[in-house]
Structure formats: structure tokens, C-alpha cells
Amino acid sequence: MSAEHPVAAVPGDQTRIHNIGYRTYDGPRLGRSYATRSLYSQSLRGAYGLGRSVKSKVLPMLLFVVMCVPAAIMVAVAVATKAKELPVDYTRYAIIMQAVISLYVASQAPQSVSRDLRFKTVPLYFSRPIETADYVRAKYAALASALFVLTAAPLLVLYVGALLAKLDFTDQTEGFGQGLVSVALLSLLFAGIGLVIASVTPRRGFGIAAVIAVLTISYGAVSTLQAIADAQNSTGAIPWIGLFSPVTLIDGVQSAFLGATSAFPGAVGPTHGEGAVYVLVVLGLIAACYGLLLRRYRKVGL
């Protein structure tokens, strides 16, 4: 007991020494748009575990490396063998790596929104100048940007590698540009779907499982149906079936408009007319996700 007393006295002493009185703040208050930007950058950094614990950096960083390594190997092979073109199209890369992208969305979408719901941090945001829409926009933009970084980085590796291998500059630049447009669409679509699902549950585990289920099961079901349609020679149905999973949607858009070869069975992509439907569905889905998120958070309040 007696040994405890001096220890207990220490905090009191510190209070006296450090207490230099309260200082008011007269500096600038930067308001709503600054707060929204701060939330955006915090969420974007958080999507790669920056500013968070070491443990939470592992998965996103690992997935980032996994995304980029195949691109680096392809480039190395192309340079070494003096190939005339890259082994994969820019537009095809994300489709090949879709499992990694889905895993990233599944792990980071709940991280971004479920935590705020679970630990009830949301009311603290809404008791500040930002509005519901600002919160949704910041979170959506942050996850979409994180996904864009994840999907565009390997394309950049391919592009730089292609230029080093002295492949045709115009061809490569055009392909790279098309690839960027495609992954930008993919990022917006995947981020929207991931956030809508994650924002429904405060439980992170459920969020992860649900996002993986929606992204992979829909792709599995759609490609199986397409394969069946192909086997039964009803090739006309293939593009329409493709409208029902996020990955095949992106595949359809880029094979119709971005010069990609389709990953659909028989490599038959949608025609321009069908492609227009694809674009409308993708844009519609992105808008719907945004709308659903707004509705979701309007209810949360304090």
C-alpha cells in the first residue's frame, strides 16, 4: 500500500506542471468541402492500411503486390524475348486478375464503412459541418480511387515495360488509354457494389463474405450459363446473360467500345447496340449504388 502512494501522486503533480491554461482557437475554419476532402484522403489512405495498425496494412499491400507481379513478369518476358507485342491486352488484365480485385473490395469496403457503423462513429461526423451526401461521396470516391490505384498500377507497369521493349508507341498508348478507361469504370462499379453491401451490416465478417459472394457467385453463374448457351449454339443469348455480373458487364463494355477481345465463350462480345445497353446498365448501377448509400445514411443520423 505504502509503495502505491507516491505513484498515485505523480499524475497530480504532472497536472500542475503542464497546466498552462486553455488557449482559444482563432485560426481559420475551413468548412464543409475541406472536411469532405479530409475524410476522402483519410479513407483512401486507410484502404491501404496507412495510418492504421501494421496488421491492417498486410492484406491490401499483399494484394497490391499480387496485382503487379504478373505484369512485371510479362514485361520481363517481353523484353527478354524481344516480342512484337505484350502477352496480354491492357483491357484483359483486370479480367484475368478479377479474383484479386474482388478480394480487395471484399476486405476494404467493410473496413471503410462497417467500422463507422459498428463503433457508432457516424454520429460524430454528422454533428460536424459535413452532410450525409458529403460522407457518402467521400467514402465512395476513396474506395473507387483505391481500386483504381490497384487496377491501374499493373497497367502502368505493362505500359512502361512495353515502351522499354521498344514496342510501337501509338499502339501501346492507345491500348493503355483504353485499359485505363476500362479499369476506371470497373473501380466505380465494384466500389459501389462493395459499399452498398458493406453499409448494410455493422459486422465486418458478414460484409466480407457478402461482397465475395455477390462478386464471385454472380460471375460463376453467368459464365456457366454462357457456356451452356454456347454449347447449345444459342450464341445470341450470351451477351444478354453477361449483363448479370459485374465482371462480365465490364468485359462487355470494353469489347464493344474499347477494342478488347471478349472473355465470353467463343470470344463473341456484344455488338455496338448491345454494348450500349451494357454501358447504360453499368452507369445505372453506379448511380443506383450511390442513391442507395445516400438513402442508407439518411436513416443513420445520430
Partner: protein
């Protein structure tokens, strides 16, 4: 009967027949109240409409009827401006466990519009003022309830607001933690110059901290007065004495002796061990002296003499009594 008692001439919060109706319940019913600078307690049972009022005052929920102003700004149209100048500490847990207090409060400061450098500086200052030192670099998950309450308070103060809303800040704290928190709340006004609206369902603890107390029940204003008025009329004294050989039932002896001197004395009610506790209304300093003298004369041992923490129900009772009294006496 006129009940308007302003602590200061500055009105910080003003509501005018403010009502909030939900499909099934009326959360606020034509509430009109003027709250000045200083520490104001908002007392009411759970579901009395305290949280609804705070939501409306933050401009987050539109009122069904009536109007309200915070810092002279209309809540219906200037919500964002109000939220920039006001701090809010929620009743429930709101802290992520895996970040440190410093990181969290810095982030919240930036969400209030403070530039990055100012956010860091204000965070260090504010955490020190609420009494968090080295532990502020550790993840919040490992904090005690008292420390978490301090972090919640810090995030409400970090942007140096003109007014803070504290929703049940003493919830879940032990008696010592409660007293620390109440002292801190007092300092928010006296040392930091920030006005405070603090809610509680315990009137007793607010009496000692607040300049002004507003009591709501069922969304209606029950009473609004300065705490000096309050303590004069409603301080209840709990007295417990020992038995002696001369007085085998000391409690009864004391009750009779006090009765003889014209004091109204009640039993402790249904509380455990209440058989030995006498409750009496303190009219002022004299009452304490009287009890002391009577106990000494009887030769009893005084076990305790303390101010009772009122429960909200006592306010209802005493305000009823007061009304009768006011009707009886013409003052």
C-alpha cells in the same frame, strides 16, 4: 407564476413552442425555453425528449412545429454553421478501438474544419486539458471507461466551440469518475469559456455543477430555473445515527426530537437499510446546525449527514408541492 431566470443576458439557446412528433410518439411538446451562457443541465427521465432536442438543436432533424435558435442562428436554415461552432458528445460509445486517441481526435478536428497543423496542436492541448497524458498514443481499445469518456469529451472540444452538448457524460462512471467528470464540465465553462448543455437523468449531480437547470418530462418543460433556486427548496438531507443504551432506537428518538422542534421528517423510503435513515428538507445552513445540536443533546453517534442525490421523481413531487404552496401563500 413567472419562471424566467436567465443566468446571463446572452441567450445561447432559445426555443419557441418547439414540437417534434413521430408517427406514434410526441417527443417534444411545445417546448419554449431560453438558455443563457454558463453550464445548463437538461434533466429528464429516459425518453423525456432530451436527445431529440439535441438533434433538433444541431440542425439534424427538422422540428414539426415551432422554432429554435442556437447562438442566434436558426436551426432550420443554418445547421452547418451551428455545427461548426458547437461540439457534441454522444451518450453511447463512439470510438474505434484500433486507433490512438491522438489520431482519432486529430481526424475529428479536421472534420470540424481545422487545418492539419492546427488540428494536431489543438488535439495535444485538448487531450491534456481533459486529463489524458502518455496513454493518448495507445489504441483506444485498451482504455478504461473513464478514459474513453475523456476522449469523447476531447473530440467535442477540440475545435474550440462556443457551446457543447454533452449527452449523459457521467453514464457508466464510478462515483470518483463521476465527480472528476463533473469538475471537468464545470471547468469547461469557468476556464475554457465554453457554454455547456449537459443532460442527465440524475438531478442531484447536475445541481452542484450547473448554473441553471431545465427539467423536461414527456417532451414538456416541467421547470426551468437557476440552481440556487433549486437547492434552496429541494435539498434533502439524509441523516443516520447510532443507537445508544439511553436510546435503544436512536432513529426514533431523533425523529421525535426533531419533530418537537418543528421539523418535518420522513423515513428513507424503500431503499435498502432505509429504516435507519431519516430524510429531512434543509431550509438553509441552520438546518445542519439544528440536526448537529439535537444529535449531540441526545448523545447519539452521527453516522452520516449528507445531501441526497435526487431522482427525477422527487422533482415532480416537489414541484407539485411548490405549486400548492404558491397557491397558498401570496408572495
Amino acid at each position: 407564476m413567472v419562471h424566467v431566470t436567465t443566468v446571463d443576458h446572452v441567450t445561447v439557446i432559445a426555443t419557441e413552442s418547439l414540437s417534434k412528433r413521430f408517427p406514434r410518439v410526441t417527443a417534444l411538446d411545445r417546448l419554449s425555453v431560453d438558455i443563457g451562457a454558463g453550464v445548463t443541465g437538461l434533466v429528464g427521465a429516459n425518453g423525456a425528449g432530451k436527445s431529440t432536442l439535441i438533434k433538433i438543436l444541431l440542425g439534424l432533424s427538422p422540428a414539426s412545429e415551432g422554432r429554435a435558435e442556437v447562438l442566434g442562428l436558426d436551426v432550420a436554415t443554418r445547421g452547418a454553421t451551428i455545427r461548426e461552432r458547437v461540439g457534441y458528445m454522444p451518450e453511447h460509445d463512439c470510438l474505434p478501438p484500433d486507433v490512438s486517441a491522438t489520431e482519432f481526435v486529430v481526424h475529428m478536428a479536421r472534420m470540424s474544419g481545422l487545418p492539419p497543423a492546427a488540428a494536431r496542436e489543438r488535439t495535444a492541448d485538448t487531450l491534456r486539458h481533459v486529463g489524458l497524458y502518455e496513454e493518448r498514443y495507445r489504441p483506444i481499445g485498451g482504455y478504461s471507461t473513464g478514459m474513453k469518456q475523456r476522449v469523447k469529451l476531447a473530440q467535442a472540444l477540440v475545435h474550440d466551440p462556443q457551446l457543447v452538448f454533452l449527452d449523459e457524460p457521467t453514464n457508466g462512471l464510478d462515483p470518483v469518475g463521476r465527480d472528476d467528470m463533473l469538475a471537468l464540465i464545470r471547468r469547461i465553462h469557468t476556464d475554457f469559456g465554453i457554454s455547456v448543455l449537459v443532460t442527465s437523468h440524475l438531478l442531484g449531480e447536475l445541481e452542484r455543477t450547473c448554473d441553471h437547470v431545465v427539467v423536461v418530462d414527456g417532451g414538456k418543460l416541467l421547470r426551468s430555473s437557476s440552481t440556487t433556486d433549486f437547492t434552496q427548496t429541494t435539498t434533502t438531507l439524509a441523516v443516520e445515527v447510532t443507537d445508544t443504551d439511553d436510546h435503544p432506537d436512536g432513529t426514533r428518538a431523533l425523529r421525535e426530537a426533531l419533530h418537537a422542534r418543528g421539523m418535518t421528517v420522513e423515513d428513507g423510503g424503500g431503499l435498502p437499510g432505509a429504516g435507519h435513515i431519516l430524510l429531512l428538507t434543509a431550509q438553509g445552513e441552520d438546518t445542519y446546525d439544528l440536526v448537529r445540536d439535537v444529535v449531540a443533546d441526545l448523545g447519539l453517534g452521527l453516522v452520516r449527514m449528507e445531501q441526497r442525490r435526487h431522482h427525477i421523481s422527487e422533482v415532480f413531487r416537489s414541484s407539485d408541492e411548490e405549486r400548492k404552496e404558491a397557491a397558498g401563500h401570496v408572495s
